[in-house]
């Protein structure tokens, strides 16, 4: 018996069924709506928030506290501190991750010790320590280690093996101290993230690249890291956002040009507590929201060649081409 592939029967009408009801969801939505209304009621009926203090004018002749000059300065400081400490963190983190994965035991041990130390010390403590390091070493320089001791060994007093040095109060104070403290701490976390990313890539990838004659550096830069970015970017986004918030710790270095410190200063001058805190909260919300949008686009960039979306787009294109249509994508 043969079965015709086309039956020639008419296509039955599309199914029109009564969908399953979810009464539980409606109850949950109602409960949430009431809670949201209660929350809005709490915020907008309490005069203590003093919205005009935050947005329009906090004192006669001044702008709202969110937009006053010192607070905007602080905002700039917070953003710069985030950017620079993340640059240190990511750069150093990649180096440490690569060291950690090195077949050389010395390199991998040094990397392990680094991550162990900086992950174990709280950032607040680290920030304070870096703010006070200039007590311990009055000058910071680069040169031969143990130069004085070596000099004495050969009978030379005050042998100077320093190539250059600066006064540590110039270098290790305020902003720079905070930046280094946060950056070094961040590098430890970034190293772990980068290592996880590199290890997530199939061994076959670097084998194929090496078999083509690529050097180890090329394999890392061109093949492994670009793929590892898919794994590295989401947790790094978390790290950036956490860093925005952790910059408030450098107030203890002390660094004055930072958002939260500046708002606390206004608070101390005006004795208006809560609106200042809300202003800080709003600024952090805004910065982090912008960062999350950036993260979305970065993630999309590094997911090239992966994922159902790309496949679907390609399939659509193939169909269009087959049907003689114009390629639109």
């Amino acid at each position: 018996m043969t079965h015709p592939t086309e039956t020639g029967r008419e296509r039955p009408a599309a199914i029109k069924a009564v969908p399953v009801r979810h009464p539980g969801r409606w109850v949950a939505i109602a409960v949430l709506a009431v809670l949201v209304a209660m929350f809005l009621h709490l915020i907008f009926t309490n005069a203590g928030f003093r919205w005009s203090f935050i947005f329009t004018s906090y004192a006669p002749g001044k702008r709202g506290v969110m937009f006053t000059e010192p607070v905007l300065e602080g905002l700039r400081g917070t953003i710069l501190l985030t950017v620079f400490s993340m640059l240190i963190g990511v750069g150093l983190g990649i180096v440490i991750a690569i060291m950690r994965l090195s077949p050389n035991k010395v390199l991998s041990t040094v990397a392990w010790v680094y991550t162990w130390f900086f992950r174990a010390v709280p950032r607040l403590v680290l920030a304070v320590i870096f703010g006070n390091l200039n007590i311990l070493w009055t000058r910071i320089g680069f040169g031969l280690p143990f130069d004085k001791q070596i000099g004495q060994l050969f009978g030379i007093d005050n042998f100077d093996g320093q190539i250059f040095s600066v006064k540590s109060t110039d270098l290790l104070a305020g902003f720079v101290a905070g930046m280094i403290a946060l950056g070094l701490s961040e590098a430890a976390y970034m190293a772990e993230i980068v290592r996880a990313g590199i290890q997530s890539i199939d061994e076959g990838q670097s084998e194929a690249a090496v078999a083509l004659g690529m050097s180890r550096g090329q394999v890392l830069r061109r093949i492994v890291l670009p793929q590892a970015m898919r794994v590295i970017v989401p947790p790094t986004g978390n790290e950036v956002i956490a860093m925005v918030k952790d910059t408030s710790l450098v107030a203890y270095v002390p660094v004055t040009g930072e958002l939260f410190f500046q708002l606390q200063q206004v608070e101390a001058r005006t004795f208006v507590v809560l609106p200042c805190l809300v202003a800080a909260l709003l600024w952090y919300l805004i910065i982090c929201s912008v960062l999350m949008v950036i993260q979305f686009f970065v993630e999309r960039h590094f997911s090239k060649g992966y994922g159902a979306a790309g496949k679907a787009r390609q399939r659509l294109r193939d169909i269009q081409v087959e049907q003689g249509g114009r390629i639109t994508t």
Partner: protein
């Protein structure tokens, strides 16, 4: 005919497990050797020793008269630097069982990557060559697709084009069709037959007896880390002398 690949008494152990126990092989220029044998017989490891992906413990391998991975000076072997090994690998193409295409690059970029980055050839020239190679493996339509958008057979053909783009003197195939759906095996074998016809020196580890019979100049049967039997395909496949070869062939034919 000049010798392209010469392996002498190659030994390789992983820990206490000795995988290769003295393998010899010579392939003349333009010759095609098919290596057959049960899994775990050391075929793939032997292939990986030829381009130094695995370091051999004893014996030596020469490609085009040049010692692979070492330099002999004053009767003593010196390990080659990473850079020199990379240079040798440029002349030895390899195709893997699981393709190992770079998933973040299009088919064309996969093929262009090594000539552009490693040999630093001009991009326009490499592009023309890459397009010609992809056309040759029947993928002219797919140059802008990412590997994830290609079937296994298409991916493996891109991988072959990628290896050829470096103009290798010899091509190593490590079970190139073992990870493919049965209906896709043919298209990859066709490309390999074309290569063999064009005079490429090839060493092919495979389970495709039909391919070996048709294309190989020499069939090498390996088991337990040694070459059990080798010779022209007509003899080895149709009329094996060794018991182990007979047992293996009776299972796969």
């Amino acid at each position: 005919m000049t010798e392209m690949v010469r392996a002498e008494s190659v030994h390789k152990s992983f820990g206490s497990l000795e995988v290769l126990k003295g393998v010899d092989l010579t392939v003349p220029q333009g010759g095609v050797s098919c290596v057959l044998g049960p899994s775990g017989s050391g075929k793939s490891t032997f292939l990986r020793c030829i381009n130094h992906l695995d370091k051999l413990d004893a014996g030596r391998i020469l490609v085009d008269g040049e010692l692979v991975g070492y330099r002999e000076r004053g009767g003593k072997l010196h390990e080659l630097s990473e850079r020199d090994v990379a240079k040798q690998r440029q002349t030895i193409g390899m195709v893997f069982q699981r393709f190992n295409l770079f998933p973040h690059m299009t088919a064309l970029d996969n093929v262009m990557e090594a000539p552009c980055r490693v040999k630093r050839e001009s991009k326009a020239e490499v592009r023309d060559r890459a397009l010609a190679l992809l056309d040759r493996v029947g993928l002219a339509e797919k140059v802008d697709n990412y590997p994830g958008q290609l079937s296994g057979g298409q991916q493996q053909r891109v991988a072959i084009a990628r290896a050829l783009a470096m103009r290798p003197k010899v091509m190593l195939f490590d079970e190139p069709t073992s990870a493919l759906d049965p209906e896709l095996v043919g298209e990859v074998l066709e490309v390999m037959k074309g290569l063999a016809r064009d005079g490429m020196t090839m060493i092919v580890v495979t389970h495709e007896i039909g391919f070996a019979r048709e294309v190989a100049d020499e069939v090498v049967f390996m088991d337990g880390g040694v070459v059990v039997e080798k010779g022209p395909p007509a003899e080895i496949i149709a009329n094996p002398q060794q018991e182990r070869t007979k047992a293996f062939l009776s299972k796969v034919l």
